[in-house]
């Protein structure tokens, strides 16, 4: 069996642009899912009971359904619901954001719950309101605790973006598979794809390790 790695070089422009889309999807998903996750977590903890229940249903639904199913669901159902012809990229982004928001909401909720009651009491004993205690004492501590978890979610998300290839989003996995189908250079393209994901993913994983050391909570 002979290898022809030139196929990778020939398609470098598409691969670079597809890698850009993968990074864009990851960044955009997190930009949506971090603030939305905070809001959902706050609703689950502090909102009026029916709102709290709705937030819980959302989180438990999207956290426990395979992401690929959410991607298909978004592809078929979102256009009917919204009446809009969403692009595959927007549809993929919506599916990823729905899933990761649910995860982040759980992360934030656990972070807020991990701060012991005495801290709120100490803040309130100074005369702070509940909101001030949350803003000045609880949230800053919770954020430090959840940062390593968010960083891990980021690394998983970076790889999981490949799942939106099933609805023809032109990110790295989809484009590499297209090139494979046209050139029949299966091993070359799979290897190239693996190399690109790894080269980008490994430094991120190392960064996570560093963040975990840097922000370890000492009490």
């Amino acid at each position: 069996m002979t290898f022809d790695w030139s196929v990778v070089w020939q398609h470098r422009a598409e691969l670079v642009s597809a890698t850009g889309t993968t990074i864009l999807l990851t960044v955009a998903t997190m930009l949506i899912a971090v603030p939305c996750g905070m809001v959902v977590a706050a609703l689950r903890l502090y909102a009026w009971a029916p709102v709290r229940a709705a937030a819980t249903v959302y989180v438990e639904l999207f956290r426990n359904v395979p992401l690929i199913l959410v991607v298909f669901w978004a592809f078929y159902v979102l256009p009917i619901w919204s009446g809009l012809g969403l692009s595959p990229l927007a549809t993929g982004l919506a599916a990823l954001a729905l899933n990761v928001t649910a995860y982040n909401a759980e992360t934030f909720r656990a972070g807020l719950n991990s701060i012991r009651r005495g801290q709120v009491e100490a803040a309130m004993a100074l005369g702070m309101s509940r909101t001030q205690a949350l803003r000045r004492v609880i949230i800053p501590q919770a954020l430090r605790r959840v940062l390593p978890v968010l960083a891990n979610t980021w690394v998983s998300l970076f790889k999981d973006t490949s799942l939106v290839s099933v609805i023809a989003v032109t990110e790295l996995a989809y484009v590499a598979m297209q090139i494979r189908a046209q050139s029949f250079r299966v091993l070359e393209m799979l290897t190239a794809m693996a190399a690109i994901y790894w080269l980008l993913g490994y430094p991120q994983a190392k960064l996570v390790d560093w963040i975990q050391r840097r922000y370890a909570v000492t009490e």
Partner: protein, 260 residues
Amino acid sequence: MTGAMESAKRTKADGAKIIRYRGVIKRFGTFTALTGVDLDVHAGEVVCLIGPSGSGKSTLLRCTNGLETIDGGDIEFEGALLPKDEKTLRAMRARMGMVFQSFELFPHLTAQENVAEGPLTVQRMSAAEANRRATAMLAKVGLADKAPNYPSALSGGQQQRVAIARALAMEPDVMLFDEPTSALDPETIGEVLNVMKTLADEGMTMVVVTHEMTFARRVGDWVAVFDTGKIVEQGPPTQIFDAPTTERTRDFLSHLGWSG
């Protein structure tokens, strides 16, 4: 009957009543933690609450600034009933400093920032002014050099002194201490008690839940002995420690190995 006797022995009883507890009842579910407590705290007095664990002394302290809400009776602070609405209650809390058994310093802030936090957030002081006050308060508890340290880098005794400075920075009218030395190593208990003694000497009104009988005896102006949710005896330390009038007090003190 004891009214006349009390005022005769109560050296600081001419000061205004800062806190009045009248028939205070507190329940947790079916458990009654306080079964009707009457107690006065006068200006400039150090009132020590002693008694076995679970007898209600910490609960009474926590009811004083509304961290727990009472189920019966009244608590008056500076002549006004403890308010129900959040905003007025907050203003009242700001005038009562509280020190916790487990310090509860804010771990994400330095010692300096911990002490400046109240003036900054609650009193809306400028950063410069809050910092000046924090520096002064840290110096007062002997920890000026620890200002840039995070709580995790301080010993238990140092953390508790920072916590005292944090409460003092609000310039409170009364200080509430909830077993301030119970979580400390024996060798650091002294440094915290010394700071408290200095405060008492300066005339600070203090309510102290404590197991340190020597402190209650030497620094306390008035001692209340708690058992099963009520005060079984109260009086000046000379009475409580040298001539207790109830069996329960004698029992409690003898269990601690107190020999008068």
